[in-house]
């Protein structure tokens, strides 16, 4: 494996972070092509946490905690670029609203959720209260909702939701366990599991585990994202106004 950015082959992929690398495993239908897992990018001195994908510009975004920053790179090969370096504590989950052209991220040291344009401009805090250890965050571009998980060892295990424009924050679920990162693709939810160091596929209709994949290297898997071959269809909720 080469340490620079490796262009992704055509098709849809899962991207996941592990030990300073973003790796990809191709998806064939809903099956994981486990033997074809390869590194996309290797930043040996960094600890990459969250991963997100912009299907419009075909860019991978990630958060990093050793010198806290948010960066991006083209999946067709190219140099990583830092977008945000200032005023970050522990940036962890990250997600892209490909319709609104914004990114959202959680910061578990500053205990807040922020949003900015994809170039880092127009940055603002959208939530800064009642967060304990926010990590995974997922945008739902057609509906404009933002979902995030908050948890700590002592007992907070919540999944919350808010429409940023309406500010109607609410709890979706309590008592979740510790999936580290999570993404959806078709009928499946894929999450990174810290007990097994694996990517686990769950059928979201039967709620049953359908497959799992353990990379060769047995260390913790962090964020996970779906790199769609084509953007999922949908209209920007703002365009309706």
């Amino acid at each position: 494996p080469r340490p620079d950015v490796h262009p992704l082959p055509p098709g849809s992929h899962l991207l996941y972070a592990q030990s300073g690398r973003i790796e990809h495993v191709p998806l064939k239908g809903h099956d994981l092509k486990k033997d074809d897992a390869k590194p996309l990018l290797h930043l040996p001195e960094k600890v990459i946490i969250g991963v997100a994908y912009d299907c419009v510009e075909k860019m991978v975004y990630w958060t990093e905690i050793t010198s806290p920053s948010i960066s991006k790179a083209s999946i067709e090969g190219g140099e990583p670029t830092e977008i945000i370096q200032s005023d970050l504590g522990s940036p962890e989950g990250i997600t892209i609203d490909h319709l609104g052209r914004t990114m959202f991220w959680t910061d578990s040291m500053k205990d807040r959720i922020e949003v900015a344009s994809l170039d880092g401009s127009q940055r603002r805090v959208i939530i800064n209260s009642d967060l304990v250890n926010p990590r995974a965050v997922i945008a739902d571009p057609p509906n404009g909702n933002l979902y995030w998980a908050d948890w700590n060892h002592a007992g907070t295990h919540k999944l919350e939701c808010m429409h940023p424009a309406r500010g109607d924050r609410r709890q979706v679920m309590e008592g979740i366990q510790y999936p580290f990162g999570m993404t959806s693709f078709g009928k499946n939810i894929y999450y990174t599991d810290w007990q097994r160091d694996a990517v686990v596929a769950v059928d979201r209709y039967t709620s049953k585990e359908s497959d799992h994949f353990q990379p060769q290297k047995r260390t913790k898997l962090y964020g996970i994202a779906t790199a769609y071959a084509q953007c999922p269809s949908g209209q920007n909720y703002c365009a309706v106004n």
Partner: protein
């Protein structure tokens, strides 16, 4: 570069045994790609997230990578729990603080090393009107807040017997009751 046709084309990876390496095309830099468990970095010189040490001894004696030592006061599911080189704990929980999460953070008191989280660090909750400078900190061990003159209790919430007017914020005043006309 195996295409030059000299005996020095292929060189051993400058990585710990078992690790593979690759050359970055653009910079010609050699990077280890499969570092031993717990290590990472271009030369496997760094510890993975959740570990600390100096596996190649770059700034002193060799210290193998070990799991963060934070007095059981970190969340095992958090990231960036300690500095990967020094081991300084960065994400203490249960209201603890310090290099090893081994003391209570300011404004809390108790035993950070107690096994039961409920017995660890409790808020000082100093009574503002009875405490010097309305400060929120107290003795780490006993929890005693720094009381104004003639103010009593751990949290400076009451006047000493024979004194009144805690709310003044300047300490309590002597009652000056006439002993002949008072019941006690």
């Amino acid at each position: 570069d195996a295409t030059r046709g000299t005996s020095g084309d292929c060189q051993p990876c400058p990585c710990p045994s078992g690790a593979t390496c690759a050359v970055v095309l653009k910079t010609r830099e050699v990077v280890c790609t499969n570092c031993p468990t717990g290590t990472t970095g271009k030369r496997c010189e760094l510890c993975d997230d959740g570990f600390f040490g100096d596996p190649l001894g770059q700034s002193g004696p060799v210290r193998a990578c070990r799991a963060c030592k934070c007095s059981d006061n970190i969340d095992p599911n958090a990231v960036g729990n300690c500095n990967r080189e020094t081991g300084e704990c960065l994400k203490c929980i249960h209201n603890t603080d310090g290099f090893f999460c081994d003391r209570c953070k300011d404004g809390f008191y108790g035993n950070a090393l107690a096994t039961n989280p409920a017995d660890k660090c409790k808020p000082c909750s100093c009574s503002p009107s009875g405490t010097v400078g309305r400060q929120s900190a107290c003795s780490q061990v006993t929890g005693q807040c720094q009381c104004l003159p003639n103010v009593a209790e751990r949290d400076c919430s009451a006047c000493q017997p024979g004194f009144f007017n805690l709310q003044s914020g300047n300490g309590c005043e002597r009652c000056n009751c006439n002993p002949i006309g008072s019941t006690n």
